[in-house]
Symmetry: D2
Subunit: 361 residues, 4 copies
């Protein structure tokens, strides 16, 4: 049996907990260290998850020779710099979505990893979510005929951490935060054909006081093969996270509901501990999810990358995929401003997607 | 008790059967006559529904002084001429959707009825579908807060009669045939605010051999109050008719499924008589609907117009509403060609919506 | 057109409102009078429903020659005496379920109506509920093969009026109040074969402080043809009324959910007017029903009996059916005491079903 | 890291494949050998799953000193003898449900394992099914108040292997085969209180030509704490496996559907590879399950026992639990014959459960 892969966690918030819990299920991995700049965060995180080492400066983590790979769960605006440093330190890298703030940074990250001969995975967990994996099998098997329309949506009532509301750190609103899931989901489901054009309708309907980013989005992705992807995203949907997909084809149709569909239908007069991410109250009727991380594919995703590192395999979702998603996001914001379908490839020097939309106001 | 309202049915196909069955449930109405140009159709229809009179020329029907009102269920391209004749004959008129082929015709119809002092109802049955009526009550009551996004979709595997495939008779494909439902549904649900812009993605994905009309459509209707309506229509969806709506608001969300949701979940090894409109086979799993017409609101719609005629009330859905829907449809086809959001009001001399899209090819 | 049937409502509580609303939808009926002994109740009821006449003594109502038929919605313990009086007055009669408290009374009621040549309908509305009517059609058509198991359940958190908790007035707990629905539903669905035996498991799990009646019941009805009916009833189920049925057969299976299934799935942060009978709070997730009475079949049931009276037809559900249900209920209580399957016919002189169970304690 | 646990598989049919696939997911286990008496079966099985050793005589497998534990997936009638041999050989043992054919054998098995100081697990996978584990957490947390009624059902159209139809080998029909799941599920969910009484309604409705065993069963388990468990089992249900549970309590209710609920709702005109266990055709509408074994809890169950062996922990489900289930099954068959509620403890010398029912005929 090969030696265990030692992992460094960079970040200590919501997604880093999920990454860590997922890695703990992977017999081939060992979570070795965690780094977070906010004083105390890394220590608390390490204590909670029984991780041996913790740092406030992620560079110290990168300096540890034991560390084979890192998972970057820090805010979007530091994805690029951390990745460049990690590549320079010779660590394999998983970058949480979205890849980074702009296309130039994306290019730099991909190039740095290539040169350093380290693996770079773009962390799109939906490509590992077991229900969606089965959905792709259905499509690939011909059960649904030729696809005509794909749909995917994620909806909840707003992000966990304050930096998401600040477009300078996040790069954009719900399109950047959750639209990225749908875009890569469509690409993966179809075997990654070329995107031909993008149209987007974005709005800030509810959270205007908190952000200038979009809190509701409809994004139409037109593929070269004629298939349309309809992404529907929201930061204003109450009642708990919603994550659904549909595949419409010439010979059939399939509906996959990741959370609500799988849940235990529960009525509790008193309420209880937890129903699902962002459920709000658990009194009355709720849809109780089970094994939430597993249903999203996080443990499977982490086990996949550990296997890639251990056995020198290419990751299922690459830095190039992350860059392609980002290009579609830029086109979406451009479209939202102009009211036009934007053709791809779409090259722009904009520092972040939101800038293209902001020109409007 | 006032005297019964005598009704003339113009048309003898799918929708005319539904209109007749619906009127038969209405104690205040009597179906007096039916007219259809195809030899034998009117006679067969009259026999089946026990209607006293039948004509091959609708003008004979209009000449009958007993007839108080007519229901126009003929193909789209003759809606206008029949309506003009019926108005001239002093009959109250229900016109099946869509109102007619172009805006000039719509103006003529509205004007003719106004001058003749006859009532004109645009037959959008979704405004009478009991589940959708309850949905509107929920929204109006504030249960969902301020609306942000409305969705409505109708999907099946293609129209009943051949003239729908011929854009010269139908005026357009699925956007014209079924998109019209969603557009009026949105307007009605919101209390008929101004439409600000329209964007549409149309395609002919499956039925290219049969039609040059669109068989799949996504239509984004932006209202002046910022609410977005997303209409999703298909003529390529197998497994039976699908009719759903959602209302997303700042304080809640509601999901209404008219057919699939209400159905009896059935497994039959042998199959049986009928599951739902266009279900295909009834072997294996199916979703058996009950009281299909009632669930769509047809009897309620007919009873409403009979009441309007009997008691001199304005119809809930007017000729002006039908015209407004048509304007949105023209804008949708224009948008599909140009890849741009089209602002309203949108004036055009095009003879039919499909013409604006056809310019593309 | 025949003259309208004039109806007298006896009772002014929950079910009498439903009966009245249902009759108002029936063009052939006119609600002529209401009677209720509690001072003021009949007057308020009459005002609310715009009924011309109201009485505190139902005998005055029976004395009105205009009244063609009465609907008895009074407490169970007066069903018999009112029916005897109404028959003596020559009125056609609908008796709300259960028919009465004991078999001797049932015999008297049936005999009295027979002699007086008035029609007697036992008001089992589930035989008119449109989804269940469709379910019966499926079974009758052979879609499901030979039936093996039928299931029906009604569950809510307890009755509307205090007299239900008093077994001396109600005759029994949830088995008497709601089990009666399932028993007649099974008989009707199967074409009323002989009941061979009954087994029941009854308990008072939650409402011991309020009643000595059963608040949860499982009743197994074995038919002569080998089919098993499983009735599941509860007065302790929170979250709104539940009304479901299943038919399992050798060639298929069908699941019909009358309320939850049909509902609009709603999330409301603020709550709203009404979700469904006994829903409790409407904040958070709820299942919003629409046209509740119609879905239960009440208007259809009333229209049916009005038609029976007007056109001299036999009611779909007779006094004999009500008596047969009562016999099964007696057997169920006997079984609950003895822990044995009770064979039918089951003759007993018990004054009410609960007495057979009470012997236990 | 402790050394891997080496596993011997005894059996080569349906359930042994599942056990093997589940063990392959467990990093701490190694499937070392398989034994099956039918010539060629073990070899084919070993080839398919890449297992090093295969035997036609399970005693040779038991003789291998490398084997730490065995999984007995052979027919019911040999569970006892294999277990006794395995215990004598010093192997830890998992016995597939039901534990064995009679109580005397159960006693022998438990005693043999006790004396040999080997662990004995009764393989009730539902106690590991993630949705049901979450359901138990809900109940334990007080979310539903005090339980009143538990329900669990498993339904499909009949067993995989011919020996199930032969009551001499299986011990009984669907009550033995699938009722055992519900019985242990109830015990586990409630923390294993004493069973007070059992009532059962059994029948052979469809498969009379194939078996004298019961093919439909309703079993009422009354616990000492007053909670009722309703088990509903069928070997005649078409359309794919059904596995559901409900918990009704004084403060709430929860509905958990293991398969149908979780599935992708699929329509395929052409059909596809696999929807769910025993689905029949995959044309038309189907409910496509994903990660079926995981959803049932098989990998979790196997990992649990491997952990028990490796770290000397007691199994969650013991031989005593398997015996308790068997006692309830005997009482159920006795009840089905007598039409009476049978009190527990229920001692019997019957050689197999079916014998008690057979006395009837």
């Amino acid at each position: 049996m090969s030696k265990k892969i030692r992992v460094g966690i960079i970040g200590s918030q919501f997604i880093s907990h999920i990454h860590t819990l997922s890695l703990k299920r992977c017999a081939q991995a060992e979570v070795f260290a965690v780094a977070s700049p906010t004083p105390g965060h890394a220590r608390t995180f390490a204590a909670k998850h029984e991780i041996q080492h913790h740092f406030t400066d992620y560079k110290e983590l990168l300096a540890a020779p034991e560390v084979d790979m890192v998972i970057v769960g820090a805010p979007n605006d530091v994805h690029c710099s951390i990745t460049l440093d990690a590549a320079a330190a010779g660590k394999h890298i998983v970058v949480e979505k979205p890849l980074c703030l702009n296309l130039a940074d994306a290019n730099r990250m991909i190039e740095a990893c290539r040169k350093a001969k380290v693996k770079l995975m773009y962390a799109e967990e939906l490509c590992f979510a077991p229900k969606y994996v089965r959905l792709k099998q259905l499509l690939d098997s011909g059960a649904l005929g030729s696809p005509t329309l794909l749909k995917q949506s994620e909806k909840h009532n707003g992000p966990h951490a304050p930096h998401f509301w600040d477009v300078n750190r996040s790069g954009g609103g719900v399109t950047m935060d959750m639209g990225c899931h749908a875009i890569e989901f469509f690409r993966w489901l179809l075997g990654r054909p070329t995107v031909k054009s993008v149209y987007a309708q974005l709005g800030t309907h509810v959270h205007n006081a908190k952000t200038e980013g979009d809190d509701n989005a409809l994004i139409l992705v037109e593929f070269a093969n004629g298939v349309i992807g309809l992404a529907e995203e929201s930061w204003t949907k109450l009642g708990g996270m919603d994550d659904r997909a549909e595949v419409h084809g010439s010979k059939g149709v399939a509906y996959a509901d990741l959370l609500h569909g799988n849940a235990i239908e529960t009525y509790s007069a008193e309420g209880y501990d937890y129903a699902v991410e962002k459920a709000g109250s658990t009194k009355g009727w709720t849809f109780t999810i089970f094994e939430e991380e597993w249903n999203y594919g996080f443990p499977q995703e982490m086990a996949h990358f550990v296997d890639c590192v251990q056995n020198d395999k290419p990751p299922l979702v690459s830095g190039e995929d992350g860059r392609a998603v980002l290009e579609v996001i830029f086109a979406a914001y451009e479209s939202a401003r102009t009211g036009r379908k934007v053709q791809l490839p779409f090259l722009t020097n904009a520092k972040k997607p939101h800038d293209l939309w902001k020109l409007k106001q």
